[in-house]
C-alpha cells in the first residue's frame, strides 16, 4: 500500500513544519484514526479541510493548487448529479459505473484523452 497523493502532501507538510499526525487531528478537530484513514485513501477528504490547511500552513498559490489536485486525485468516491442530465447522459453515467471496475489502464487513458479533447 502507499499513501494517497493527499496523504503524501500532508506527510511532507508535517515533516517541514515539525508536526505529527496528532497535530493535524487537533487542527481539523477529529480523531487521529480518521485523519489516517483519509490519508491512506479509505475515506474522502472532507471539503472543510482545505481552507483550514491553507490558513494554518500559509500555503501560497501554487501550493494551494497542488493541495486541491491532491484532494481530487485522492477521492475514493465520486458523486454525479443526474437531476438535469439528458437520457443519453444518464445512460452513459450508469454504464460507466457498471464497467468501471473492469476498465484496464489503457482503456481508461483512451477515454480520458477523448474526454479531455472534448473539453479543450
Amino acid at each position: 500500500m502507499s499513501y494517497t497523493k493527499f496523504g503524501e502532501f500532508m506527510r511532507v507538510l508535517r515533516v517541514k513544519n515539525h508536526e505529527i499526525m496528532g497535530d493535524t487531528a487537533k487542527l481539523l478537530n477529529c480523531m487521529v484514526s480518521f485523519v489516517s484513514s483519509v490519508e491512506n485513501g479509505k475515506k474522502n477528504v472532507p471539503e472543510s479541510w482545505a481552507p483550514i490547511l491553507i490558513d494554518h500552513y500559509h500555503l501560497d498559490e501554487s501550493q494551494q493548487k497542488e493541495l486541491y489536485e491532491a484532494i481530487e486525485e485522492s477521492k475514493t468516491q465520486v458523486k454525479l448529479n443526474l437531476s438535469s442530465a439528458s437520457v443519453s447522459q444518464r445512460k452513459l453515467a450508469v454504464q460507466f459505473q457498471r464497467s468501471f471496475e473492469k476498465l484496464d489502464d489503457e482503456t481508461a487513458n483512451a477515454i480520458l484523452n477523448l474526454l479531455k479533447e472534448d473539453a479543450d
Binding site: 515533516v15 499526525m21 496528532g22
Partner: protein, 174 residues
C-alpha cells in the same frame, strides 16, 4: 506471535541500533521521538516502502497495541489510536516503545532476520533465535544507547529518553 530467526547476539543488535540512528540522522546519544519518526520513514534510506496508519482501538485485537505487517509492496505499521495518543502526548513511555518496536520489525526484516518457518513458533527456542526477543532488544538499544546510559539511574534514563520505568530497569541490567 513469535518466530524463529537466525541467531543474533545483543552486541550485534547494538551495532544495528547505531546503524539505525545513522540512517535517521540522529546523533549517538540524543533521545528519539518514534511518533515524529513515523512521517519521516519514507525519506530514510531503505525505509521508502514503510508506511503507517493509526486505527481505531477495536480494529486490532485487545492485546495488540500495534503491529507491522508485510504488504505486497513493503510494510504497513498499524497503531491503535490510544497507543498513538499515549506516545505523542508523552504520557506513556511504553506506548513510545511499542511504536519503535514495530519500526524495528521492519528494520530487522530488511537486515535478513526473517522467520525461518512460516508457521508459528511452538517449540522451545533460545531468546537469541527468537524474533520478538531480537526486536525488543534492538528497540531498547535504539531508544536508550548503551554507551550513554551506563552512568545514569533508572529515573535519569526515564527522563532523558522518555521511556517507561520497566524499560529503564531493563536497560540497567544489560
Amino acid at each position: 506471535m513469535d518466530y524463529e530467526i537466525k541467531a543474533v547476539c545483543r552486541e550485534k543488535l547494538r551495532l544495528y541500533a547505531k546503524l539505525f540512528r545513522t540512517i535517521c540522522g540522529f546523533s549517538a546519544d540524543e533521545p528519539i521521538d518514534p511518533v515524529a519518526l513515523l512521517d519521516r520513514l519514507p525519506e530514510l534510506e531503505g525505509f521508502e516502502d514503510v508506511r503507517y496508519e493509526v486505527v481505531c482501538d477495536d480494529e486490532l485485537p485487545g492485546n495488540v497495541p500495534a503491529q507491522c505487517i508485510p504488504t505486497e509492496d513493503g510494510y504497513l505499521i498499524q497503531i491503535k489510536e490510544s497507543v498513538y495518543k499515549g506516545a505523542s502526548e508523552r504520557k506513556v513511555g511504553g506506548h513510545r516503545m511499542h511504536i519503535i518496536h514495530e519500526i524495528m520489525h521492519a528494520f530487522l526484516d530488511k537486515l535478513g532476520y526473517k522467520p525461518i518457518y512460516t508457521r508459528r513458533l511452538t517449540k522451545d527456542v533460545p531468546p537469541y533465535r527468537r524474533l520478538e526477543w531480537a526486536v525488543k532488544a534492538i528497540a531498547g538499544e535504539v531508544m536508550m544507547p548503551y554507551e550513554y546510559t551506563g552512568n545514569l539511574s533508572e529515573k535519569e534514563i526515564m527522563k532523558m529518553y522518555d521511556v517507561s520505568s520497566a524499560a529503564a530497569k531493563k536497560r540497567l541490567t544489560y
